[in-house]
Each structure stands twice: as C-alpha cells, then as structure tokens.
Symmetry: C2
Subunit: 201 residues, 2 copies
Amino acid sequence: MRVQRVAKGDVIFAQGGPAARAWAISTGCARIVQTGSNGRQAILRFIGPGQMFGTVPLFTDHRLPADAIAAQASSVLSWSEADLLRLIDRHPRIAVNLIAVLGTRLGHLQERVRELTTLRAEQRLALAVLRLAAQAGRETAGGHTIGLPLRRRDVAEFSGTTLYTASRALAAWQKAGLLATCRGQLTICDASGLRRIAGDG
Amino acid sequence: MRVQRVAKGDVIFAQGGPAARAWAISTGCARIVQTGSNGRQAILRFIGPGQMFGTVPLFTDHRLPADAIAAQASSVLSWSEADLLRLIDRHPRIAVNLIAVLGTRLGHLQERVRELTTLRAEQRLALAVLRLAAQAGRETAGGHTIGLPLRRRDVAEFSGTTLYTASRALAAWQKAGLLATCRGQLTICDASGLRRIAGDG
DNA sequence: GTTGCCGTTTGTGCTGGAGCAAATCGAAGG
DNA sequence: CCTTCGATTTGCTCCAGCACAAACGGCAAC
C-alpha cells in the first residue's frame, strides 16, 4: 500500500490515462470529474474518507474515465493491481462485496440519469444537496453539515446545471432558512423543505 | 431455469417490487424503464438476446429500481436467487466476470450523465442512435440496422429529450440521408455524419 | 495599504427546446 | 369497407435556464 499527500487542487489521476492502481481517501476529499471534448465538465462523485475510487477500470478496459482532483489537502492511499487481485484471492468475499458496492453505485447513477431527463434544474439542485448530505453529512449545531468544501460551481456541475442557477437557488434557500452556507461549508437546516422542493420521493 | 413467453408490451417485472430472480432475454427484446413520481420516465437500457437484466438488486437491496417491459413478443429466461448463488459458487469466475460487466455499465452510465449535463438535445439524440447501433446493430443492405423496435418516443426517452424533438431530428437526418426508418426499424447510412453531429469523440 | 485572485452575486438578453394541439398516416380488426 | 387505435409529423407559443458581463467581497501575498 502506498500513502501519498496531495494539496488542494492536485490531480490524483487524469482522465484517459491508464488505470494501474486502486485508490482510496484516508483524510480529506476529492472530486471525480469527467470532461467532454467541448470542455464542459460534470462531477460524477465526491469521495470522502474511507471511500475507494478509480478501482472499476482495473476490471474493465484499464482506462481511467475521469479526473480525480483533491478538493482539500488530503492523504491518499493506493494499491497496485496485483496487490488488489491477491487481496481478492485471499478474501473472496471482497468480490461479492465489490459487486454490492458497484450495484448501489449503478442504482444511484440510474436515478441520476432519470432525474437529469425528467426534473427541472431547481429540483435537481435540491436533490444534489440532499444526496451530498446523505453521503458526507454530520450533525452539527443548527443542522446537518456537509463535510465537503463545496463551491457553487461544484454544486452546479454535480447537479447538471450552471453556476448561475445554482447560486440563485442556494441564495434563495438560504434566505428562506432552508440551509446556510459559509466558506465552502453547507449546512442543511430544513431537510424536509428541500425534499418538498425536489418533489421526487 | 424458468422459460417464459411474453407478449409485446407485457411487464416482465415492475419498479419497486422485490427482486427475487435473475433474468435474461433469449429471443426478442425489452426496455428497462424508470418512472419518476411525476410520471415522466426514462429508458435506462434496451435488452437484446443474450443479455441479463434485473440481476444487480439481488446483490444490494432486493428492490427492483425500474420496470422491464417487452418491446416485442419475447422469450424470457430466469433463475432463482439461490440458483444464481449456487452457480457463482461453482464457477467463481462468474463473479469477476460480473464485476467487469457492471464496470462497463457503470462507465456507460457515467458518460450518459456527463452527456445529459453538457450536450444539447440534438447531440444526445445522435449519440443515442450510435450507441444503440453499437449494441444491437447488424450489417444489412444499405447500412447498419438496429435490431430493436424503436418508436420515436423510445429514442426520446433514451436520450433524455421529448418525442417532438426526436421526431424532428430523425426526420431531418432521414431527409439528409444519414439514416432511414421504416416500421420501427432504424438503419444508419452515414455513421460518421452522425458522429460529427454528436461532436463528442 | 495595495494588488491580484478567487468565488459569489446580480441584472439582462436570448434561445433551445418543451409543451400543446391538430393533422396525417398506417396497421389491425371487425 | 369503415373504424379505431397508435405512432408520427408539423406548426406554434412560451418559458426555464443558459450565457455574458459587471460588480462585489474576502483572503493572501507583497
């Protein structure tokens, strides 16, 4: 296992490159970003402490489908492909476990696809916030705080809308007391209110 | 293994129900459709002969995330969960193979998410057609024919746009000689032309 | 303090494409 | 033959939200 320190904004691995290692975050967090040929990009996932990433292409075409970018100064672990396979060989349950993890990710992605095609920008933004809270939220004074440094642009690219609409919506919700933002920290005050806006079960 | 005949339009399994079997198409084909609480729906995949479906939730929450609907009169195979697990137990390679299959599906879904957020309707439509051709196309006189019965509405819901825009785009492309449609059969005449419209590598 | 950088907010114009309605067409069924 | 039903086409309207621009505010470096 290799341990590595990265600074905020550092590229952990780059889209299109060869996939040779399995990665995980130990402390800090990262964004998984896919860029199209027109330059526009979408955030596929946020990686928090304990989560693995960049692992799937080891089992498929060994091509990294996206960038991984540190969203904070972070500590990153990684294993070589051989080590990973040896690990699976020794503990076959890891494979079944991996199937379950991939399965849930698949389910989430399918939901995102539907949401992107059927919901409007405001609803998608609310869902994005709720999803991030479910993934990386912790109870704090005054609400549920998302443990990721989120810029408006991040929220926009994660929910498939633009910086501008994201800014407007979040500002409106802050004024309405649904959430609070401060220096990249986002705190949800009224989750049920957001769920009502999302209006999608 | 259970063999089952279904008519066009029959529901093979329904969204929200319990996942108890692994499915595959023997002859014919099916649509996997997810419906939102607002009633609008998105087509997640098309299933052709030899492809499995409904299998993933057996490994996760045992909840079917979408409907499976026969797009033609079809013959459907299925295995009980116990049989599937026994099969995996006897042939452990199946698990690794499954990971690879899930991995590629994951990759495709990630691309779709990015496309939905960054590309315009016409580009997404072109990509949808190309993707379907890659999945279920066969060489025929005059081009590459998609072996699925595709209504305009299907193409629209698969590419995240509306029936109307899909109709317009396909009609324009037919007039331009890029493709031909006839009775639910879609034939691509000029794939590179479509790729140019998609303009996304 | 000044400067520059980064992120956010806000105003404004404009267009892509969603949404509706009506006409058309074709196939199946009686 | 007529009817019915499903699918497609087409014209039209209208608005969500994208795009650009400009201003604002905080922070760090110098």
